[in-house]
């Protein structure tokens, strides 16, 4: 698998590779769930199912459990980390998290979610990844491989 993540010029046409900074180490892959809306933790998700519940959110009703969650960043209550912490213990955490804006909410949330997480990308993942794409994340090496659906 690791060879696929090499950033060679030989990358197939339907594969995009991003580089970012490690927030939480580890390797994971899964289907992308992408939103340009920031995500609230407390009052924004149901941690037992990983479902977005915020009233006017684009992903309302969808679950990130097992997905590679791609989003701009965190907002709202400081209950962010504990909601994602519970989601992990409930088995409803994302497989990985890719986000653009660093905040304490998301840093701590990612740390306690124990899922690989990256930020500070060379290109904007929100523009390159669509919901349904298959995404492989090697946070230790700072590499994301996107296989377009």
């Amino acid at each position: 698998m690791s060879t696929l993540i090499e950033t060679t010029n030989a990358t197939p046409a339907n594969i995009i590779v991003l580089r970012g900074r490690k927030v939480v180490g580890g390797v994971a892959e899964g289907e992308a769930l992408v939103t340009t809306d920031r995500i609230s933790g407390w009052g924004g998700i149901d941690p037992r199912t990983g479902t977005i519940i915020e009233t006017r959110h684009a992903l309302r009703g969808q679950s990130f459990a097992g997905k590679v969650l791609v989003f701009p960043g965190a907002k709202g209550s400081s209950g962010w980390s504990s909601q994602f912490h519970i989601a992990r213990l409930a088995g409803a955490a994302p497989a990985a998290m890719l986000f653009n804006e660093m905040t304490t909410k998301i840093a701590l949330g990612a740390v306690v979610t124990h899922a690989p997480a990256l930020t500070d990308f060379d290109r904007n993942p929100l523009e390159l990844i669509e919901t349904g794409d298959w995404v492989k994340v090697d946070a230790d090496r700072g590499i994301v491989e996107i296989i377009k659906k």
Binding site: T55, E101, T104, A107, L108
Partner: protein, 427 residues
Amino acid sequence: MKLTDEEQAMYAGDRGVAVQRAMDLLVRYGEALGAESLVDTNNVCGTVGATMPFLRDYSAKHGGFDAVFSEFNLDSADVIEIPKVKVYSSHLQQGLDPEHAERQNVHSDVVKIYRAGEAYTGKLGIQPLNTCAPYQVGNVPVKGEHCAWMESSAVIYINSVLGARTNAEGRESAGAAMLTGKIPYWGFHLEENRGGTHLIELDIDVRTVADWGLLGYYIGEIVQDRIPVINGLQHVPNMPKLKHFGAAAASSGGVEMYHVIGQTPEAPTLAAAFRGQRPLETIRYGAAERRLAYERVNTTGKDTQVDFVMLGCPHYSMEQIWEVCQLLEGQRLSGNTQLWIFTPKATKQMADQAGYTKIIEDAGGFLMTDTCSSVGRVMPKGTRVAAVDSAKQAHYLPAIMGVQAWFGTTAECIQAAVTGRWTGALA
């Protein structure tokens, strides 16, 4: 991250296992942030309660409060014996009001857990403020004080209005800070990150608590987690107004700091507020924007028959309780409507003493403490439509409890409680 000798010793386990786990979390967290070091703090506000169902189950399965603190405050699956906290630590809001448990549909077993938790945290040295507004009950940080606070409405208040320095911490980082007196030196702890980013020009007078709430709700959605600078204020606000403003801005966006020119302590002038930089954007706030905010915050309100009026988000002050008493005195609630008002326990003590609790109860309402409807998920049974005077509560209550929520002034909410009908409108 660069650690001092004492931090190294804590990290290495020389100060005990709990402190070691706390340092381990702080280092992982600091590195996730990209922080270069930790900073000393002697003022931590967090939550360590174990009354919500998921945590109760965890506690029962894994060995009680130490297990909960280990997992949910230190991110440690091993159960560690938790020592007394090292620094001044306060507890934020809880999940229920033990004195209104039955009314809140909380089982007496849960109240027992609450009481046991109270004794546990008291012994650890965590002050039971039990409120989202610690600055209303004695924890009033001073300008420049490095804090490690959770609770977005409190974070934005102490950063902006008091000039203290905190990021929005989480349950785990606050727990680790209590045991170590350390927190990542990042974000709002650093002078260079406290300058404004967006200029908000007021085209209308913002004077009432409700108007401050609308302004906050509007701005938060636009600036998200950046730092708005408000210019053109015509009247000096007060604590309730800035409290509602900040809570709203923190809910619709993720605002953790703002400036008001000529008002907040780090914004004597525009240049000072922006730290000499140019605003990224200038946003005008006039009658149209106010209307838009009003419509957005009232997104879920449909039916005018109101079952439940919820006040006290953020937790009410004595001044606000007195205002309600003046509106309510001598009236009776509609038979179909309940009125719950939330305040810190310490504030309720004064309200009891002054006779204000009795005025509320005589009208058929209740003054409750320690929690709120969104955090405790506590509402009268069968509530379909709620009325609130808080943009924050209007934002969260529908999402969390699946009800409709009307937002309006305190007077409109009391009117709804008395008549059972929502007649609020933008004045």
